[in-house]
């Protein structure tokens, strides 16, 4: 029973990681950028949800505004900060992303203060839960897990079945070739950012309900963990990001459950390293052999 409830807890945590990891993975897949600002977009999403809910908006409107806000923010960031560096060395782009991350955190601190604010999760999702045998499962857990699964399915369909998805895959394979084939590379990249951010918006909602405290640096750790999850599963792969998210979430909970709570981060990274030693591109990552 204890085990089952820990399992559900791990799944819920993993679902949030997965939602964030998907965004990381997509952006990485297309322009090979570790988008350090991704976690901070979730922070902004959390604040948007907080304010819209506090102002008495309907939960659905709040959710829609959150997702829309994250998407717009990501597009703005992409256009202003990343596009000028499209042909710059990749590390410069990375540093720019870090700069954006610091900027967002400090803007949030300036406008919302450094003190944490509680998030009215009960206004967004129903409280309570259902009993599965002797285990009580909260509605929020079920909704979080289902949302992440549905997101993944929709995303997979988007990438595999639509024209835009085909364009995204083409751009991630070879930007120049895609451009020659008449694909508007810029708009495809922007679209990818937007989709990643929309997922981050959904992640922000799920996160805020589960961890109802908003503060300017809340996205940093979440972003880092999600990044690890994305790499774990094989960065650039959609099912990989999901798998990575679940794996990291479960791992954290299980390490705690066996009484090693002080070593959680250490064990998570150790497992990550071991996985990468055996599978150098993550669990679901394609192995890339350099052409000679």
């Amino acid at each position: 029973m204890l085990f089952v409830s820990q399992l559900i807890n791990g799944l819920q945590l993993g679902s949030i990681y997965a939602l964030v990891a998907l965004g990381y993975s997509m952006v990485y897949g297309i322009i090979k950028l570790l988008n350090f600002a991704h976690g901070d977009i979730i922070m902004v999403g959390g604040y948007i949800a907080l304010f819209t809910l506090t102002f008495g908006q309907h939960p659905l409107i709040a959710a829609a505004l959150t997702v829309a806000g994250c998407t717009v923010l990501a597009i703005v960031i992409e256009k202003l900060a990343y596009t000028p560096l499209r042909f710059a060395p990749r590390l410069s782009l990375l540093i720019t992303a870090i700069g954006v991350s610091i900027l967002l955190q400090n803007l949030a601190q300036y406008f919302f203060s450094a003190t944490g604010r509680s998030f009215p999760g009960h206004l967004l999702l129903p409280q309570g839960g259902i009993a599965l045998g002797s285990v009580q499962v909260a509605y929020t857990s079920i909704i979080t897990i289902l949302t992440s699964l549905i997101s993944m399915v929709i995303l997979t369909i988007l990438v595999r079945r639509t024209r835009l998805g085909k364009a995204m895959r083409a751009v991630s394979e070879d930007q120049d070739a895609a451009r020659l084939m008449g694909i508007n590379v810029n708009s495809v990249i922007t679209f990818t950012f937007a989709v990643g951010a929309a997922l981050a918006g959904i992640g922000a909602l799920m996160y805020s309900v589960r961890y109802p405290l908003m503060f300017p640096t809340m996205g940093a750790m979440l972003g880092l963990k999600a990044f690890v999850a994305a790499v774990f599963g094989g960065i650039g792969s959609i099912p990989g990001a999901m798998l990575g998210g679940y794996a990291i979430g479960m791992l954290e909970v299980l390490v705690t459950a066996v009484g090693l709570s002080g070593w959680v981060d250490g064990v998570v990274f150790m497992v990550l390293i071991c996985v990468l030693m055996v599978r150098p591109t993550g669990i679901m990552g394609r192995s890339i052999m350099e052409k000679v």
């Binding site: 400090n106 250490g266 350099e290």
Partner: protein, 337 residues
């Protein structure tokens, strides 16, 4: 017309003399009270950030890998040096030297330990794995509180990081990395960055050189860590988190990958900038991050690009110009400054 060149021994002599002069002058200035005490304190910190940046530049700029765990090596060195110094088993001057060497060696051992498995991976996976090792080091330091005192803080570390000690280390680390890079070993490291497969086809033992670069880099990061400890007098594992690694990387990229001079300049700029911006109070970090983004957008290859400052090259130019002017006096000017 053949360009004027200063003969090598003379060049080394000039450089050595200038560096000694710099040390003496710097020491005199910091002790004289000409600068504020805050400026002196920052100058010391610039020192160990230079070492950190220059050592990371060896791996990032020259070897072309992206490690995100530099703070981990710094941490190992910091704790090794601090614990040694706290034991007070040697007379002071000797203790400083041995402590610094110990810090470097222990960090280098970790560099090898981590480098061997990590360097099997490429690109961003290497970044992640080094990030992971950096975090593991931090977690271990936190949990080994019987030795490190964990988050309670390792207190009463002798404050050995004077201007002279720090800047002698700065000069040694810059000089070692410079001479290393201007040798067959340095060329091998560069060739790996440029094209690993071709480097192997030229008989360059890529794994050996990667691990070697990693170890040398970790060695100096360890020394910088010890200087850091000797500056603060207190160590907590949180000093060496992921953001510290990122800050060092920021210095390297902002300075220009593969430019030692750039690393030095950026270390100074990025250490002084938050201080200079203090009057902005609550806007400070907003401005700081905006400046970072703007510099990257307008100068993506860093402040210095891959330019490396060489005093003797400038001297050669100046002297060469003067000579050619003298020679061409009255005649046509062929000098092509």
């Amino acid at each position: 017309m053949k360009a004027f060149t200063i003969p090598t021994p003379v060049r080394y002599g000039i450089n050595t003399a200038l560096l000694i002069l710099f040390l003496i002058a710097g020491n005199a200035i910091t002790q004289s009270g000409l600068l504020g005490r805050a400026q002196n304190a920052i100058i010391i910190q610039v020192g160990f950030f230079i070492i950190l940046a220059v050592s990371l530049n060896l791996v990032t700029g020259y070897l072309g890998q992206l490690p995100l765990g530099h703070a981990g090596f710094m941490a190992v060195g910091a704790y090794a040096g601090a614990l040694f110094w706290r034991a007070h088993i040697l007379p002071e001057t000797l203790s400083i030297v041995v402590g610094l060497l110990l810090a470097g060696v222990v960090a280098a051992l970790f560099g090898i330990l981590i480098g061997v498995p990590a360097l099997r991976l490429r690109g961003d996976y290497l970044a992640i794995i080094t990030l992971g090792f950096g975090e593991i080091i931090r977690v271990v330091l936190t949990n080994l509180d019987s030795i490190t005192y964990g988050a309670r803080g390792l207190l009463n570390i002798p404050r050995h990081s004077s201007f002279l000690v720090v800047y002698i280390c700065v000069i040694i680390s810059c000089a070692v990395i410079h001479t290393l890079m201007k040798s067959r070993h340095g060329r091998a490291i560069l060739s790996i960055r440029e094209n690993e497969i071709a480097a192997e086809s030229c008989g360059v033992k890529t794994t050996y050189y990667k691990v070697m670069a990693f170890a040398v880099s970790a060695f100096f990061a360890g020394i910088a860590g010890a200087l850091f400890a000797g500056n603060l007098g207190i160590l907590v594992p949180a000093n060496f988190d992921f953001m510290t690694s990122i800050n060092i990387l920021m210095i390297v990229v902002l300075g220009g990958l593969g430019s030692m001079f750039g690393s030095v300049v950026a270390a100074a700029v990025l250490t002084f900038l938050p201080f200079v911006l203090q009057p902005l109070a609550d806007y400070r970090m907003i401005i700081y991050s905006l400046m970072l983004i703007i510099v990257m957008i307008f100068k993506p290859s860093g402040l210095m690009g891959s330019y490396d400052f060489s005093l003797s090259r400038i001297l050669e130019k100046v002297i060469g110009k003067a000579l050619s002017l003298g020679r061409d006096k009255g005649g046509k000017n062929h000098g092509k400054a």
